[in-house]
């Protein structure tokens, strides 16, 4: 076994030092009936590297790779181009094979990038402070609702009909078990929802999303004013973080907590994970914030350095009184985010956002020209909703057979809802060429 450096001679000599005859003696506390005499039955023995590569490569080729086809899926996960240097830095053993920076003197690399990440997230969202990442956008959203509950001591959360239904489900699951009253609104494909009227003095928070699942953009300034007047918080969710390169940030609208899915920057699609949740809030709420935090300090010689801080909020100190049970975050994904965003910079990030928007505008115009196809959006960033004359899921399946991945049928996310089955979410990023777009148009012409 190539990963195991002990030889039989080593093992014998070590057993002699320990003073036992065999390894089995070390397992003497295991109930006898549970001690297996040999390898677990029914499983194969070890394979060489070449064999493992063959096995996994074979599985991988059974999938239709996004980069090989015209590709227009979004709905919370986006295909963007990540510079090659990002992954190469990530693969440096000093980053890849390190643990949570409990020993700051030998973890300043990890700690400094976390501090940079927190700053970047605060800047993008327009908020005061951010944590060192969450598992993903949906878990971050659930944590934000629980945080609002802790801050307001209120029990009710209103979830927008524009919120990604998976985010809604994770919030319902997580906060439901805590006994919160989660009021999820019906899907809002038209983007006309107004939640201000629903906020009352039992409301802990309102959770809204921009761009919404259906692509609509909103300014939540009025909602924030209204909610704050009732003592409720507003949580703004962003599932496509590239939109923050172009649009007014939630912080400027008055949001109290901003949660984003950060996958778009630095991270591959990965069939849904690992991703990275961004979590930002107001300074005054920082001690109610879940997750790890990196803070600036000085060392014994007075030099600037970084440490994990405010850990009295966390489970390993506070145990059942912790703000969250979260322990591992998405460190490497956060690093990818930080490197990619550093490469983009102000100019690059803003241009990337404008390219995404421009490509989507171009595609929307092309699709709007198709007979029977209606673009539902007055506003959007890089994703919008089209109404097809047929069931979207069937259309998508047919186009997939032609090696075109056309978008996400809304019915995949809302299978039980009437009136949504003809809706298709279509995303367009900097990775889509005009010939990709034309292939989609031709494909739709054929199958519609």
């Amino acid at each position: 076994m190539r990963y195991l450096p002990l030889t039989e001679a080593d093992r014998r000599s070590m057993l002699a030092t320990i003073g036992v005859d065999s390894v089995d003696a070390l397992f003497r506390d295991v109930p006898e009936g549970a001690r297996l005499p040999g390898p677990i039955p029914g499983l194969p023995n070890h394979m060489g590297e070449l064999q493992v590569e063959r096995h996994l490569s074979r599985l991988s080729t059974k999938n239709l790779t996004a980069g090989c086809v015209p590709f227009f899926l979004g709905a919370g996960a986006y295909k963007h181009h990540v510079p090659a240097s990002v992954d190469q830095i990530l693969l440096r053993g000093e980053f890849l094979t390190s643990y949570t920076p409990y020993q700051p003197e030998v973890s300043q690399g990890t700690l400094q990038y976390l501090f940079e990440f927190q700053t970047q997230v605060a800047l993008l969202t327009g908020m005061d402070v951010a944590n060192a990442s969450m598992y993903d956008g949906a878990t971050g959203t659930a944590e934000a609702v629980l945080m609002a509950n802790r801050i307001t001591k209120r029990n009710k959360a209103i979830l927008s009909g524009g919120l990604h239904p998976h985010y809604r489900e994770v919030t319902q699951t997580t906060c439901g078990v805590m006994g919160m009253d989660i009021q999820a609104q019906t899907p809002d494909p038209a983007g006309k929802e107004d939640l201000a009227g629903l906020v009352d003095d039992q409301t802990a928070c309102v959770v809204v999303q921009t761009p919404s699942l259906f692509g609509h953009l909103s300014d939540f300034t009025a909602l924030c004013t209204a909610a704050h007047a009732k003592g409720a918080l507003v949580i703004v969710v962003v599932t496509e973080v590239v939109s923050l390169g172009l649009l007014t940030p939630p912080g400027q609208m008055g949001a109290d907590i901003v949660v984003c899915e950060g996958q778009s920057i630095g991270n591959a699609l990965n069939f849904g994970g690992p991703y990275v949740g961004l979590f930002a809030t107001r300074e005054k709420f920082v001690r109610q914030m879940p997750g790890r935090l990196c803070g600036q300090t000085v060392d014994a010689e007075g030099k600037r350095g970084f440490v994990l801080t405010l850990s009295t909020r966390e489970q390993h100190i506070r145990r059942e009184k912790a703000t969250s049970n979260i322990c591992t975050n998405s460190g490497l994904c956060a690093l990818a985010f930080t490197i990619h965003l550093s490469l983009l910079g102000e100019e690059g990030f803003s241009r990337l956002a404008r390219i995404n928007h421009a490509n989507a505008v171009l595609l929307a115009e092309k699709l709007a020209g198709l007979k029977g196809v209606e673009v539902l959006n007055d506003s959007f960033f890089n994703e919008f909703t089209v109404k097809l004359p047929k069931k979207a899921a069937k259309v998508v399946e047919k186009l997939a057979k032609q090696q075109i991945l056309a978008g996400v049928p809304v019915s995949r996310l809302y299978p039980a809802e009437d009136g949504l089955e003809k809706l298709l979410l279509v995303a367009c990023t900097e990775t889509n060429t005009e010939s990709d777009m034309d292939a989609l148009v031709r494909g739709l012409e054929e199958v519609l």
């Binding site: 029914g42 996960a77 490497l332």
Partner: protein, 493 residues
Amino acid sequence: QEEALIFELDNPGVVGVDLPEPATTKTKLGGVKARGRIGLPDLAEPQVVRHFTRLSQKNFGIDSTMYPLGSCTMKHNPRLNEKMARLPGFSDIHPLQPESTVQGALELIDQLAHWLKTLTGMPAVAMSPGAGAHGELCGLMAIHAALEARGEGHRKRVLVPESAHGTNPATAAFCGFSVDTIPAEDNGRVSVEAVKAKLGPDVACIMLTNPNTCGLFEPQIKEIADAVHEAGGYFYCDGANYNAIVGRVRPADLGVDAMHINLHKTFSTPHGGGGPGSGPVVLSAALAPFAPLPYVVHGEDGFRLVEHAADAEGKPFGRLKTFHGQMGMFVRALSYILSHGADGLRQVATDAVLNANYVLASLQDVMSAPFGGPCMHEALFDDGFLKGTGVTPLDFAKAMIDEGFHPMTMYFPLVVHGALLVEPTETESKSTLDQFIATLRHLAEKAKAGDAAFFQAAPRLTPRRRLDETAAARKPILRWTPPAQPVQAQAAE
């Protein structure tokens, strides 16, 4: 070498990526305004690469030295696994592609699930939790759902030994349970009597780590499981220390109802400075019907994802993650598992336990081991050997850094005074262990010889000397702010 913050390297006007002009200048922003300057720094690619390369050089990793953090299972991370996870057929597929276009991905999840179930002897596994603590949440939610389904939603008490990881009580509280602590016995174990004394009709479950956080196998685990089951509760096993028994002991044979598996520990997906992890949870038949969405099933026309309650056979308690779980970690874990096989995984546990016992046996004359041996995969010491020296466990650990080793876990578990918890893992060679042992012997003797100042001044050879954590927490500075704007973003005090 010093390295400024990326923001301090800002050079407005350069770019680190070259992007074309947007295809059109038309916009469809509705009433939302385009934003002004964000405040991100501009750098060229060479500057960014150098910045992060230099940051990396301030870190220790397993690649560079032994990293014996107890409870963390810092084993070798094979690069094969990284290569496999980057195959475009895995990394470049969208979670919502038609199932017909992701059959290989679904099959991979199914294969990994098969391994996890067979290794643990459990009938079901929930794949989506994003980390160990998330897996605990999954397990406790399944227990919560099962109790509700039984009409016993009143069972709100969760038993947790005092030696448990903080995540256990935190998770129980997160799920709305109350936490009742079971005291540890003098031998570092939990006794069946102590558990029985706490059992009652309001007990939902026990959360037990096994091997426990002292690095010891709970010898009465079967009796404890039986007692809990008899009292109508469930047995949640914290699988953080599964590496000690993988391939040698099936948790199902111990009476476990739910156990999370940290793929980033036992199955070597890299921890990456704090994640991403992955925490699938194996479930007993009693809990399996409540497993969360989504999950993979194998039907007549291939693999299928069950994403909605209406399509599920059981009564899923809900959804835990945006999509289907940490696919990237699944690929790495399966690559690791296939590389080891049933024989290799058994050897993993064997060598992990052997290495820990070797450290324990080689150091127990100069350091103090509260519970003697044999241990499982971790060797626990307390600060008895430092008594009267003026050297704290922290000082001792920091001195190790200057000798080139990452320190062990300190001050955990809480059940012994000044704990020093060493987990070498199976991927350290005897010769590295011998160097490690020699270094610790030397340091222990130096401490006893009365050279406290040496320890208190350590580390000396690191990019930073000891950092003031108290100051950091008292007046938190959590982000960079431009020096021109003197207002600093500080948390409320």
